[in-house]
Amino acid sequence: MNAPRLSKQVISLALVAPLLLFLIVFFALPLVTMMKSAVSDPVAARTLPATARSVSSWNRTSPPTVEMQAAFVADLRQISDDQLFGDLVRRLNSAKSGFRTLMPKTRKAALDTAGSIDLVALDKRWGDISYWQAVSVAASSTITDRNLLAAVDLQRDASGAIASLPADASANKAIMLRTFVMALTVTGACVLIGFPFAMIAASVDGWKRQLLLGAVLLPLWTSLLVRTAAWFILLQDRGLINSVLMQSGVTSSPIPLIFNRAGVIIAMTHVLLPFMVLPIFSVLIGIPKNLMPAAASLGAHPVRAFLNVLLPLGLRGVVSGSLLVFMSALGYYITPALIGGAKDQMISSVIAYYATGAANWGMAGALGLVLLAATMILYAIYLRLSSERETSP
């Protein structure tokens, strides 16, 4: 390689360096951290080393041995960092409810008395073997598939085999499926409204086009929360839409438009419409205006001309618009929370509960990972289909 070429490469690398750095810091690193938190589970193994050694020979079905109990108490005495202890308690309690009150009590007893402690006498829960099973599972490994399994409604039973969770215990799969169905519905609605709108906007000029584009852009510049709140006011039982319908005599009682699926789809379609209209518009504007008259002069019916000429040419815009809308819709959180009912919540609300409510980052990471994987698979299928279409005559 000669010197001028090398220096050129260095310069171009320096030019993209800010972008590269930005992508690594704000995109790649968080993504990796999220994936790692879904499977890493080091806290119990780190804080309970002696327990981990002594439970390795335990068969997890017989009553806990004296050595295990002594090792556990010794480990508790070693933990000096309260926040680390908190992490341990949270980890254990998410596997078995009860550790939250049990652990601080046990730790206090361990620190207050010097000798050996009869744990069962301290709290009868230590006589329950399922608590020891939870400790044993947590302490014996630093990685776990627990979160990933729970994210798709599965768990490991006492023998270690994968089994599905009871039907009323978890509904992540159903919510995940609902998220995809809702995102698809919104994308479909955006295409149906956005394509004709973009066609009209591309076919007129001057102030009419400015007005039409302004109608799309103006909402885009308004905060998402404000737009959602506006829909709340419009859609409620005594809101503008229902008052007009009832006063004009169309209905006698209000049509339920809020706290249900219809309301969420309406509001999300409105919020995401600009992302559909703008790509289609930018493609349509580049299509020569004389193509449609040319088709008509050859005797094509307007519908046929649209289907055979304009639609295939504009499809590229529809495709990129659909991708934008679908991907944004997958992560929606505020709109379903405010406009939707209990059956319209999407997976992001579950992720938010685990992150902000329960401080269970592993579970939040696992759900995010499953959503990412499912999206990637859909994207791969979509790429396959779109490339096939391009090669076919």
């Binding site: 908190g86 009323d168 409620q236 005594r238 929370a337 209990a342 919540q345 329960a358």
Partner: protein, 346 residues
């Protein structure tokens, strides 16, 4: 020369040190709505004036993970936060709050015993219970059985979205005596029973999350009855001339506390603020705006008689009411929330 250099370095360190400490104004976080409006008037603004420093106030909707993430990030961007009993217990065990200097507050004996903790100072005693619009509803509900009875009082009901409270209220509607609710709920059959009772009402429930929402739902007529926080109801009645009622029998009361997040850069000012908001003569102004009980015993006595009857801590209102079982919820919150979310999704 060496000495000069050293002095320069010390000066530089000192200025950067103060610069980071002073970089952010004291940030106090509470629960929003008309409650925070009242707090702003009687605590935030007078304290800022007295201290001669600005005070920022923000609002939140709870969630232990929010606080934990802020502390784990290093320097938190909140200082004093008003938290629910569960978040106080969890965070105190995890060490994410600064320890309270009770001498600064005049000693623990000045406060209700339940409002005293190593990490937090009780701010209010508040109740969650049935509330309704007295102007629209001729026949007032009296119990949770009425709340569940959609034949007697048709219309939608509002409930706080979450397992906490919803399960307790469902059991009371199913005929469990108020003082036995937690012993029933501690058994798997009790939990099944609560969910079964919630099934009955499910098609008629509108779920809310922020404390200001139920007032809006009730005002707009979206629901005929809703669970709500008692103080906000009386606050709205006074400020907007509404006639909302609140049913104290069967309500659940709990204590919210002020905490200071660990490693807050404004730790001392935040503690001063808490001391200011806990002073008897400052705290006793609260019931005029919003009817919450006061943890400072002397403040409770200073409240004018006409406001006393509205407080959750008045003897009449305590009849038939129960206290939130914090231990139960710290243990079972995650498992029951997971089940509750699954139940919601079905």
């Amino acid at each position: 020369m060496k000495i000069l250099n050293a002095t320069l370095i010390v000066c530089a360190l000192a200025t950067t040190g103060t610069a980071t400490a002073e970089a952010r104004d004291l940030t106090v976080v509470s629960w929003g709505g008309n409650y925070q409006d009242a707090q702003r008037k009687i605590y935030f603004e007078p304290f800022a004036k007295q201290a001669g420093k600005p005070l920022l106030d923000e609002s939140w909707d709870g969630g232990y993970g929010v606080l934990q993430a802020k502390v784990k990030a290093g320097v938190p961007n909140w200082d004093a936060v008003q938290v629910e009993a569960e978040e106080l217990a969890l965070g105190c065990a995890d060490g994410i709050y600064e320890k309270v200097d009770w001498d600064k507050l005049g000693g623990k004996s000045k406060f209700l015993p339940a409002a005293v903790s190593d990490c937090g100072v009780g701010a209010i005693v508040w109740s969650t219970g049935i509330s309704y619009d007295g102007d629209k509803l001729k026949q007032a509900p009296a119990s949770w059985a009425d709340f569940w009875d959609t034949k007697k009082i048709p219309g939608k009901r509002g409930l706080r979205k979450g397992a906490k409270y919803a399960l307790e209220f469902a059991l009371m509607a199913d005929g469990v005596a108020a003082d036995e609710v937690y012993s029933v709920l501690a058994t798997p059959e009790g939990v099944d029973r609560a969910f079964k009772k919630l099934d009955e009402l499910k098609p008629n429930i509108v779920w809310w999350e922020a404390g200001a929402q139920p007032l809006q739902l009730l005002s707009s007529g979206e629901v005929v009855m809703t669970t709500a926080y008692n103080g906000r109801i009386s606050g709205l009645n006074r400020s907007e001339g509404k006639h909302f009622g609140f049913v104290f029998p069967g309500s659940i009361y709990a204590i919210d506390s002020w905490v200071v997040l660990k490693d807050s850069p404004n730790k001392d000012t935040a503690m001063d603020f808490i001391a200011y908001a806990s002073k008897a003569d400052n705290q006793s102004k609260l019931p005029e705006y919003i009817a919450y009980g006061l943890p400072n015993i002397e403040a409770g006595k200073l409240v004018p008689a006409k406001f006393q009857t509205e407080l959750p801590t008045s003897p009449d209102n305590l009849k038939g009411a129960i206290s939130l079982d914090v231990d139960f919820w710290t243990d079972n919150s995650e498992a029951l929330t997971q089940r509750f979310n699954a139940w919601l999704a079905q």
